[in-house]
């Protein structure tokens, strides 16, 4: 019995401490996440602007880097859409010409800061293979038919300006502001992480068993590129979905296999899902109006949205999968 009491005190120190106020605040606010799903099609041209306002409001929670996954303008089945990131200067026009010639397909390429979105009349697998051999210096941020992922080091407000977020239309989007706690501050370590075709994950929290899980996933053939704990969570979902789980099944299984504190938001082609760890250590708020559904680490991000004064607002329960538009 005394042992049990000691362990509970440790939990207690993690969630609420009697140490000075400022220290508690700093310890509790690692990263911010936001998500918005538009029910009103009339708002679709404004999606980027709405997301930008939410993201900037979460700057205090994550000043190290920012990123978004945005779903828009789905391409036909015969084509695919990839987001590429170039760490150094890239001659995107030359790449487009080279791709079109080598893959013998029409290529559309839209540059946005250090990233470019490529739409090509070919299968995603063939394009990924070609890029992997011909251009290993380029990182594939996302692949699918509607998803676009942009992420970069620096303050959210700078990210919003650099990537011209207010120009972007779309149906739904997720965003993340990162306060690095367990790995380096780089674009590669930033969120969202792609978890498969048109899928992505953002994470607020920290996983404690990510090293062991990373080894297991690599044994299963999942490509994990960094030492980041959130990428392991993304890789885990990718593995489970590949093994035939539905997204909900994969998330239910994650509750058993992932150890640590987390609120996850998972983007899918048609919507998004939210999951909090079983003791709800990390915050999350949700809100819904006739026009949109939103989630955020804190209400002040949702407070930026139009019509919020009439929104239904609630806090998602721990260990419960919430999803929209799937």
């Amino acid at each position: 019995m005394p042992v049990r009491k000691i362990s509970l005190i440790v939990v207690y120190m993690g969630v609420h401490c009697k140490i000075p106020f400022g220290t508690v605040t700093a310890g509790r606010i690692m990263c911010g996440i936001v998500g918005i799903y538009l029910k009103n099609e009339g708002l679709q041209p404004e999606l980027g602007g709405l997301l930008a306002a939410m993201l900037v409001e979460m700057s205090d929670r994550g000043p190290d880097s920012a990123g978004i996954a945005l779903y828009r303008d789905p391409v036909p089945d015969s084509s695919c859409k990839l987001t590429l990131h170039a760490a150094n200067r890239c001659d995107w026009d030359a790449l487009r010409t080279e791709m079109a010639a080598n893959l013998q397909a029409d290529v559309k390429l839209d540059v946005r800061a250090s990233h470019a979105v490529v739409v090509i009349a070919a299968s995603a697998a063939s394009v990924q293979d070609w890029l992997g051999t011909q251009h290993p210096e380029l990182r594939i941020m996302s692949a699918g038919s509607a998803i676009e992922i942009y992420k970069e080091k620096g303050l959210p407000v700078e990210f919003v300006r650099q990537f011209r977020l207010s120009e972007l239309n779309g149906t739904h989007a997720l965003g993340h502001t990162r306060m690095a706690t367990e790995s380096a501050v780089t674009t590669e370590h930033s969120h969202p992480f792609s978890t498969g075709m048109d899928l992505c994950l953002v994470h607020n929290g920290s996983l404690s068993n990510h090293n062991r899980l990373r080894r297991r996933l690599r044994d299963e053939g999942v490509d994990i590129q960094t030492d980041n704990d959130s990428e392991v969570a993304a890789g885990y979902l990718m593995w489970r979905l590949r093994e035939g789980d539905s997204l909900e099944e994969a998330l239910e299984r994650a509750l058993k296999d992932l150890d640590g504190f987390y609120t996850f938001a998972i983007g899918t082609k048609h919507g998004f899902a939210v999951l909090r760890d079983p003791i709800a250590c990390k915050p999350a708020v949700m809100a819904e109006t006739d026009d949109w559904v939103a989630m955020a680490s804190e209400f002040r991000a949702i407070a930026q949205l139009p019509g919020v004064e009439n929104a239904m607002i609630w806090e998602p329960s721990p260990a419960t999968v919430y999803s929209w538009g799937q």
Binding site: M1, P2, L8, K18, T25, F299, P318
Partner: protein, 223 residues
């Protein structure tokens, strides 16, 4: 009545004004989920906040009467010393954490860890509370008119918990206790004083079994 609009006035200006004002009434509009609104007041002021607030609203409150028109984020009325804080909507986790006195009234629900480490505050929740509420609660009363989540009163000391609805799994060393006439009367007075419509006879009482207070010598060989 003095009015602050947080679209134009800063939270710091508001709090400084509240710290400097010995009495009076004040309204706050457009809180928009901002943090630390009306914190550290040590004056008999009445504050009315129109909307939803963020983290640590009304923290360390002393003597002031604070009403929040909407929902409250984590740690509302944390370490409250005296006075009262009323939330018209729902409260996020750790409401009234480590509160030493005064009254916290939540007209909606409170989420996890409501009244964690409370040390004398009275907390009345018209709705339900989440898991690990009254964790390590030392003194004061937590009244829940709805249901209580799992691990209620885990490692509780001498605080008193009253629940009208269902209770999930009780926490370590928390047990149901007899509801005496004195407890019913005391609870009745608290419900009347806080304006929460409920019948004191409908509640059950929970508290410490006092089994964790001392090291159990029977386990000495385990270490």
């Amino acid at each position: 009545m003095k009015a602050f609009d947080l679209n134009t006035d800063s939270v710091r200006e508001l709090n400084q004004y509240l710290h400097d004002s010995p009495s009076g009434k004040l309204s706050v509009t457009n809180p928009a989920g901002r943090h630390c609104i009306a914190c550290g007041i040590d004056n008999a002021v009445e504050v009315s906040i129109d909307g939803h607030v963020g983290y640590y609203c009304a923290g360390m409150n002393k003597t002031a009467q604070i009403t929040i028109g909407g929902n409250a984020g984590p740690g509302v009325a944390e370490n409250i010393m005296s006075g009262s804080v009323r939330i018209k909507g729902n409260a996020s986790q750790s409401a009234g954490a480590s509160g030493r006195g005064g009254t916290l009234i939540i007209e909606g629900d409170a989420s996890a860890r409501c009244g964690i480490s409370m040390k004398g505050v009275d907390i009345v929740v018209a709705g339900s509370v989440g898991h690990l509420s009254a964790f390590m609660a030392q003194k004061g009363r937590l009244v829940v008119c709805g249901d209580a989540g799992d691990f209620l009163g885990d490692s509780i000391y001498e605080a008193c918990i009253y629940v009208r609805g269902k209770v999930g799994e009780l926490g370590a060393d928390c047990i149901e206790k007899e509801m005496t006439a004195a407890h019913v009367h005391g609870l009745e007075d608290l419900l009347v004083a806080t304006g929460v419509a409920a019948n004191a006879d409908d509640f059950r009482r929970y508290g410490s079994a006092r089994k964790l207070y001392n090291f159990d010598i029977d386990h000495a060989d385990d270490y």
